[in-house]
Symmetry: D3
Subunit: 318 residues, 6 copies
Amino acid sequence: FMWNTKKEITEPKVHEWIQPLDDQDSAKWTHYDAVILGVPLSRSSISASSASENPEAFRRAWKSFTTYNLDEDLDLSELQVADLGDVREHVTDISICHDNIKEAMKAIQTHHPDSLPIMIGGDHSITAMLIKGYKESHPSERIGILQLDTHFDLRDLTDNGPSNGTPIRNLLESKVINGEDVYNIGLHGFFNARSLKQYADEVGLNYITMKQARKKGIERVIHEALAELETKVDKIYLTVDMDVLDISAGPGAPASTPGGMYIHELLEAVQLVGASNKVCAMDIVCLDPTKDIANATVKTGVHVMLSFLTGYKLRQEL
Amino acid sequence: FMWNTKKEITEPKVHEWIQPLDDQDSAKWTHYDAVILGVPLSRSSISASSASENPEAFRRAWKSFTTYNLDEDLDLSELQVADLGDVREHVTDISICHDNIKEAMKAIQTHHPDSLPIMIGGDHSITAMLIKGYKESHPSERIGILQLDTHFDLRDLTDNGPSNGTPIRNLLESKVINGEDVYNIGLHGFFNARSLKQYADEVGLNYITMKQARKKGIERVIHEALAELETKVDKIYLTVDMDVLDISAGPGAPASTPGGMYIHELLEAVQLVGASNKVCAMDIVCLDPTKDIANATVKTGVHVMLSFLTGYKLRQEL
Amino acid sequence: FMWNTKKEITEPKVHEWIQPLDDQDSAKWTHYDAVILGVPLSRSSISASSASENPEAFRRAWKSFTTYNLDEDLDLSELQVADLGDVREHVTDISICHDNIKEAMKAIQTHHPDSLPIMIGGDHSITAMLIKGYKESHPSERIGILQLDTHFDLRDLTDNGPSNGTPIRNLLESKVINGEDVYNIGLHGFFNARSLKQYADEVGLNYITMKQARKKGIERVIHEALAELETKVDKIYLTVDMDVLDISAGPGAPASTPGGMYIHELLEAVQLVGASNKVCAMDIVCLDPTKDIANATVKTGVHVMLSFLTGYKLRQEL
Amino acid sequence: FMWNTKKEITEPKVHEWIQPLDDQDSAKWTHYDAVILGVPLSRSSISASSASENPEAFRRAWKSFTTYNLDEDLDLSELQVADLGDVREHVTDISICHDNIKEAMKAIQTHHPDSLPIMIGGDHSITAMLIKGYKESHPSERIGILQLDTHFDLRDLTDNGPSNGTPIRNLLESKVINGEDVYNIGLHGFFNARSLKQYADEVGLNYITMKQARKKGIERVIHEALAELETKVDKIYLTVDMDVLDISAGPGAPASTPGGMYIHELLEAVQLVGASNKVCAMDIVCLDPTKDIANATVKTGVHVMLSFLTGYKLRQEL
Amino acid sequence: FMWNTKKEITEPKVHEWIQPLDDQDSAKWTHYDAVILGVPLSRSSISASSASENPEAFRRAWKSFTTYNLDEDLDLSELQVADLGDVREHVTDISICHDNIKEAMKAIQTHHPDSLPIMIGGDHSITAMLIKGYKESHPSERIGILQLDTHFDLRDLTDNGPSNGTPIRNLLESKVINGEDVYNIGLHGFFNARSLKQYADEVGLNYITMKQARKKGIERVIHEALAELETKVDKIYLTVDMDVLDISAGPGAPASTPGGMYIHELLEAVQLVGASNKVCAMDIVCLDPTKDIANATVKTGVHVMLSFLTGYKLRQEL
Amino acid sequence: FMWNTKKEITEPKVHEWIQPLDDQDSAKWTHYDAVILGVPLSRSSISASSASENPEAFRRAWKSFTTYNLDEDLDLSELQVADLGDVREHVTDISICHDNIKEAMKAIQTHHPDSLPIMIGGDHSITAMLIKGYKESHPSERIGILQLDTHFDLRDLTDNGPSNGTPIRNLLESKVINGEDVYNIGLHGFFNARSLKQYADEVGLNYITMKQARKKGIERVIHEALAELETKVDKIYLTVDMDVLDISAGPGAPASTPGGMYIHELLEAVQLVGASNKVCAMDIVCLDPTKDIANATVKTGVHVMLSFLTGYKLRQEL
Ligand SMILES: [Ca+2]
Ligand SMILES: [Ca+2]
Ligand SMILES: [Ca+2]
Ligand SMILES: [Ca+2]
Ligand SMILES: [Ca+2]
Ligand SMILES: [Ca+2]
Ligand SMILES: [Ca+2]
Ligand SMILES: [Ca+2]
Ligand SMILES: [Ca+2]
Ligand SMILES: [Ca+2]
Ligand SMILES: [Ca+2]
Ligand SMILES: [Ca+2]
């Protein structure tokens, strides 16, 4: 008598497709189109945050998604994707955490440079570390950033160190990225200081507010940003701060704003970016599942990842 | 001294208009333009659901709606509408519940074929029973289905019986409905298996995803579906699975999705359908009021019903 | 050793800009471009309401907003704005509360007629008192009302006195306002009685439902209403009933409706109104922070105030 | 075919026992052992309160209680109990509400002096009106009060009128009650001003704090208070302010305190009081169902009513 | 580089101790002191229930418990315990579910009669099936039941079949259990019909209400029930309906009552029962994690399991 | 006209008594009986925590408490108490935060050694820093700790540094405290590893679990611990980890446990400790107001502070 014999899988779900990778499996990394890395760090956040719980929240939530995208008649399960688990964090020394994150990205680039890395944060401080790790692995590449965010993330690091308010400034000051190679889409009035806007202008950073982007059309804005970036840089890194969402759509992103991006706009945006040949990596940050309601923002975050992979698959199919 | 003397009604509310019908009143059914039937069954749901609580939640929520639709300068209270109460359910034998549901629809068709029946679910398994009951009363009619849903509802019945994952398959396999007479609008990527899409194609089912529908315009999509159906079938049955809503708009529909339909789109869609002369019945399913937040999805569901009746009234006024 | 020495302010927040005014400071009122007055009265609400808690909720919430509006590259901190505190209320005598509110508006007009008053309610009954107070200070001015609301607020006062269901009727019957000088935008089907629509038509009140406004475009609707008002009246009073929002966007406005206004539409509307030279005051009402979720509606309300002030600043800059 | 035929009642629930009384039924009042009156007034509350929603919340909640008390092997359905509905309230004139409440109690005493009245508030201001109404009907009776409350309710009426902070002071100052005839059990440190304690001492009011009562034993404290009252007064009125509960047990009583009464203690206390021959009426106040969690405090409130009726029935059986 | 290398376990947690058992491991069952079986069935519940989600909720929650019981200086990890996974359920045929549950218990008894089975429900209907399965494996044993419950669970099966209102009646009518061998502790007034009390008396069932048990002392009541049972029966089955808890302590048990059992009393009770040599199995039912608040009831349920195992370990140590 | 003139204070509330101290006021410290210091650090917590929000939550919550303790007929407002504000924290360098905390305690001891310091955390890591600061100011004093906690807090610091799992170990290893001078009351089975118990025994630490303490009586347990400490040490530091509470009473203390301390027990315990002449300071930690429900745990925490001060005042009155 077998009471819990598993059924044959006829409707593959994301958790049946993305397989956890044990340490000893690292030799097999060459098999993967994409790798997913959890970065459960949020003690570096300015405001108290439990975004560190998000990687596990993603893994639970993606059990309710199938691998098949009916919109495009495309099955993500044809991609080989591994879940590398989480970067190990230290409880009381944030610089160790940040080093581990950078080293993790370097390890990914070393062991298998052909996999597309997708990082699940954690707060936005991780982006500086991930891009630094990428840059150390590819010192000659010029990297551009496409950032979907309510904020510039250009605060001064001398005040409080590499927090979630500083990643772009960090990358600019450390010469990893040029100001002109950053495109920030979705910024919001009343949530950025004038001084940061002035800094952005000084370094030649490109940006458009959500209000302006909506009038122009998100799709067109994304296309233009990609087109400009593709002429300038070797690789594009997509960073999605979930607080870019409208406050009605992002309870799990505590800094989401009245008048922010709607979910269908965000999904469309990331799919377009995923389809760009120069896009080399992406992360999703500042989603705090303990503040979410009905798991709505976590599910939206998972869908962002799947829409990005849809773009990536469409890229391959061309 | 009378402390609770009722005021004269100057702002009629829905509960002052829709009157409960006692058993002995059934002779009076001929008076009604529409009849409302609660179908409090959700133990047939794949995922644990309390959609069975929804008929009572509707009745409480509609107390806050007036009968007057300012948008169309039209008063629903000019329609005669009765609340038939709930289909009786059995606790541990779902097949008895399903039989009762079918018999209830047949009783409606027998005692008063001219009333428009509106069924408040319950989970989506009830739709198969309701349409079967309708078909048994009108064996010669060709019935079409206009389905607003995130899902195909085409799963195989041999696995788990007539659950909320199977109603359309059930109707197709039992030859009650032809595949070409089903129009599903609002389907979502990553929530349907590829195999179900293939089945849909095999049987010639018509469908459009939410993403595609939004690009085309919901209004136009509905008009086209109605136009095609009206040429093919005798009667159209509208089934509204509330999980077609966007996840930000449908906390009480646990399967609502990121990127789903917005409320104003849904209300517009059902009003258009209600105005079609061939539409003979509608149901609203998969709304679990115990998971709702601030009663928002329940109120939206009630408004769906009222928008549908608005269409119906507009139909009469032509 | 100083452990709580304050940092220099580099990112000015709204609470560092809007300064509370002590009683003895009233002589200094001539310094202010705008003054903010809390009106914590909601025991005059038909349905039980804690909108009285909203002024304090606003003050807490605006700590998370900067003064700089990136959308317009404009810094509100260049305006001098004072927080006058709250109108004093009586616990069991609502007519005393209403008198205090009227007197407070008169005091503002007396001590400094050049400041733009912004009132934070409270329920909608306060609007009648505020406009009466304004009228008593400016008896010769013809005042128009631009109302964003789900409701007409035209109920009969003989039933239950000056509640939140009656402010416009109150102003019309007391001849403070002409029917033709009221423009109501955002009304909703099924939440207004036919009798109130008939009354509105009799007095020549102007209105457009949300559904109609969305089809026409909110921006255009606002422009047309302002254009008409500007030709007729001396001053325009903006009253924002937060229940004009869609139910997915306004959990803290318990009467918000399925199909209501989206947040970005509301923000755009109030900014446009703020930029009109004839606009002399505004209030925000019927926001109950105890029913809010994740403080979303309160934050939206604060943003409404800031968007209105943005319009006001743009007016000055011309 | 009858799909909603009612089953025979084998497990009588409270709502099948307590029957609503229509206006025209008042002649039949002589049939009732007890009558229940809703008093949906809370706009007289110092803090914003929705206790006005409580009578309806009680009526919904008592559907889940049977009439049979297994603890005492006693069936309340042997008592004849009528639900008189709610006292009619005015929206903006609280003195009218208070008059209506007083008149309602007088009507009860006039039409049927032998029924035990149970009043469901509403805030605590109603108690003064109810006892005044009782006193006007029975001017020669000396009435005592047994109060379960965190607060003295002895605030000065000259400040804010007859609010929920003043009912006992109101009754003392109007000479309806003597200070020595009030027994307050459950008072809490840090929630009463010293000045009120001094007033209580001056008028000879009897009181014991919750901390002291717990050390002594609630059962004994109640017995002693009843014994003293029974020797002094003709009738005893029980008033239960639900904020007497511990904060872990009374989320729906927003003023409940850390260290308050536990539920089993409260239930025992009211049953003991109900069994006293001199107890002539009771009320339950300051329960705000909109702040409740999982309906726990509302259910507790209903149980308080049923435990009181249990005591009343035991009284009859002696 | 290894970023997610696991640390050595120095503080063993429950999930590191209880190991999932694959199908093919069944030969190894002889190794286990206890086996845990999930029974995710709640569509057989009278009221809509998601108790089916509870086995998974338990598995997530026990990650926060260590295996060491400081109260008794005893480490559960010295016991060998396996998690057998969940009984497979059918979506629309409850009788199949019930058969599977019975067969699962028989399989446990067949493959390893020496393991103590612990079943995690699910609703209370499962207890009848589990005990029937046990009885079929041990037809000659006289089995007693110690039930902690707010309810008798003695409803008539002819009405609605084997639901969560009937398990004890089911076992009595099928002669699996004698009335005198059932001890129900924790019953509550106003939540049981008089007719069920009469049935209980007729069959000689033993019971004590919570109110009576608290006066006597839970510890003593448990000791006396065990003492009586041990003289009469061969084996004792413990069934814990979580609704025995006080309503302030059991939000995840929707039927928990005002005046119910406190958590420390429940934990003490189950530990005492676990220590009885004749106790052969236990189940925990009617815990709906979707209604829980802050996971409090789920954590309490896990602790009930661990306290029971503590008793079992103490039994071995004698 | 003055609309917001303040009333005379007749019922002094805690916020009208405890006055914030500006930087420049430090010379006046000699006036204070007690000083309150916020320590908003929780990024040093093992589990993600927003206990950093607690000092501000306390300040908001104490507005609803009067200064008068009716239980003891004692008014805390006779004590001079200052609020020193919060220790300044660094976003990304926890060691700076910890140094600031230690320095803050030293500054308190330097500028006014006669004030009783009360620290509002933050997580439990702060206790080690606070006691180290105290010890550096009083190197010759032997300090004892009375700890109310579910946990030993004896984890090894070499793993993750000075987190909230290590404060007692930290103090023992740094020779600031002797093992025999620590009394831990309220420990819970299944939330501490055996290895920590062994360490506690090795260093001679005194402890009693909550289950054992309840059987003995909390009052007696506290008296005995104080009596032993008073014979051994010069000063006693009280540290209250709010997770000592029962899970039904402490939703805002995420690690509170089934079977923990009830609120009335905790309040009694801290008052007894406050009355001990040797008690020199206290802190309250691990209360995360963002996880609280109905502000219940925050209010309980404030009451803990007031009950402690009640003890302190009783000490003076002897
Ligand atoms: Ca951001
Ligand atoms: Ca960011
Ligand atoms: Ca469906
Ligand atoms: Ca669906
Ligand atoms: Ca209004
Ligand atoms: Ca309105
Ligand atoms: Ca009171
Ligand atoms: Ca009170
Ligand atoms: Ca049961
Ligand atoms: Ca039960
Ligand atoms: Ca601790
Ligand atoms: Ca702890």
